[in-house]
Symmetry: C2
Subunit: 349 residues, 2 copies
Amino acid sequence: MEWKGFPMKTVVSLRSGRVLVAALLFSLGLSAHAFAQSDPLPSWNDGAAKQAIVAFVQATTTQGSPNFVPPGERIATFDQDGTLWVSHPMYTQVVYCLERVPAVVKAKPELATVEPFKTVLSGNREAMAKLSMDDLFKILAATLTGMPVEKFQAEVKAWLATAKDPRWKRPYIELTYQPMQEVLKYLRANGYKTYIVTGGGQDFVRVYSEEAYGIPPEQVVGTAGGTKYGYDKSGKPFLTKEPRLLLNDNNAGKPEGIHLIIGRRPYAAFGNSTGDKEMLEYTQAGDGARLMMLVMHDDAKREYAYGPAQGLPNTKVGTLTQKLYDEAQKKGWIVVSMKNDWKKIFAFE
Amino acid sequence: MEWKGFPMKTVVSLRSGRVLVAALLFSLGLSAHAFAQSDPLPSWNDGAAKQAIVAFVQATTTQGSPNFVPPGERIATFDQDGTLWVSHPMYTQVVYCLERVPAVVKAKPELATVEPFKTVLSGNREAMAKLSMDDLFKILAATLTGMPVEKFQAEVKAWLATAKDPRWKRPYIELTYQPMQEVLKYLRANGYKTYIVTGGGQDFVRVYSEEAYGIPPEQVVGTAGGTKYGYDKSGKPFLTKEPRLLLNDNNAGKPEGIHLIIGRRPYAAFGNSTGDKEMLEYTQAGDGARLMMLVMHDDAKREYAYGPAQGLPNTKVGTLTQKLYDEAQKKGWIVVSMKNDWKKIFAFE
């Protein structure tokens, strides 16, 4: 077996990871050609990123490999927004919350003259862009909580069935990245359990994760609020979504959420922004072969370009800052260039 | 298909469930004999409980059945203490916490003269039995939190390898109920994902759930505290267990925990005490065929007898009270008599 005795972790996490992977793969005679007939990642251009994924899977799933991982322990975690689907210029869940405001005000007309609902109803995008985080939390609380779990799920489902992204004029769940779909399938085909670990709402993403990614609801970790058990008039029990935060699944909250929901350290983790840094660190801190990847949005033509490649300020939330980019280089995390590494962005192209 | 058009839910949840199941099974010609050659539940005596389990599995997994459940939605939840293993006269986790006290005091000698540690160190069982809930929480906090996750897991593992139940003189993980092990395997063989939903500590049970029940850590829901992400001196990240309660997985906390960790309603739920009532109610409130079961400890000879059968006070925690027993009858939940329904209790018998 080619990988026997081969220190896989070195390959994927050394300072000069990209070059090293390519060089070693070449020296072992394992090129894209070797698996051309059943290429598991056809939407990826041949390069360090693609080769690192394939090398990681081979090292961790080949019996006898020093970095073999038993099937039950094969866990891979994926951030969602900006990693698995488009999140620019606005997170889909924020779009949902804003578009739900009219229905919320219809049910509670007294909110029509109260901020921030008044501004949202006005449709004035400039004014909306200036809403504070406090305002946003009020909108999230009003649209995501205070109703039975099943009612919320039905509302999200109904919205997803009709809402469309304004640029591509397609349902949001069609805006997933085809190369990442291939990574999900490739890992699953090799015994990995794929999880979404998102800063977005756990209950929100669970509504469509199966349809969009083939990931069942119980494999979605996200920002989560409490629920309250109670009974309706007929004595039938139900759970109400409460505005009580249990888990803020961003930054340090990602490894904390992984421990809470999964209870195992991932072997591979994929993100795209500062909010994913701790998840990748936590993944890398484990023994054996580990794969850490960041998707860089540097394709203004086919998707969007934001982050260091465009010289945007480092403080912008939800992007690959220059600081994180530099850290990735230093730690041997693979930075995926959408422009150079991906043959296509969407399945419908 | 024998079960086509058959309102399964009626069978398992009608007021006179036991009799009805037996009568219908008989009238359909489906007796224990029909599956004798590959009896999936050999440690169960033939009777209403066993037949209800088999009927439920057939109704929910046979293509074309009106109550067919797609594989991905097949979720079954099991309380642990008193349902899957012995929890009398003391929960195993409480034994663990008490037995850890000397090590905790050794690391912090100033605790030796402080209550409740002083009493625990004295070994005076009568005095220990009188410790308050507040005292118990102090012991739990000192033995279950304040250390890195991996250190805690290693401590539990080391304890389990040597600790023995005083009555059977065997490791605790051998004290699981063989008939329930068969139910777990039977459900899994039929596409069900089996979960533990325990009032015990999620992190505690996850250490041995795979070895004891074949249930991976990510399928254990339990009482959970927060963790805190940080870095050691070398910059390596780790999670510290905090004494901050996120989920009290008892009573209403069980359906709330199921929603948080799994995000789906179970089709079958198994418990043994008042702490499981809400989980069974929540399970029954779903559509289609559902199976709700309570294990009754009425076998003083082979295990223990406590609860209504012995006329103990209804207020005792962790038991099947008379009130819950009556409610089970009313709602068509199956009450399993250890004495009458189980041929054997443990695998080693």
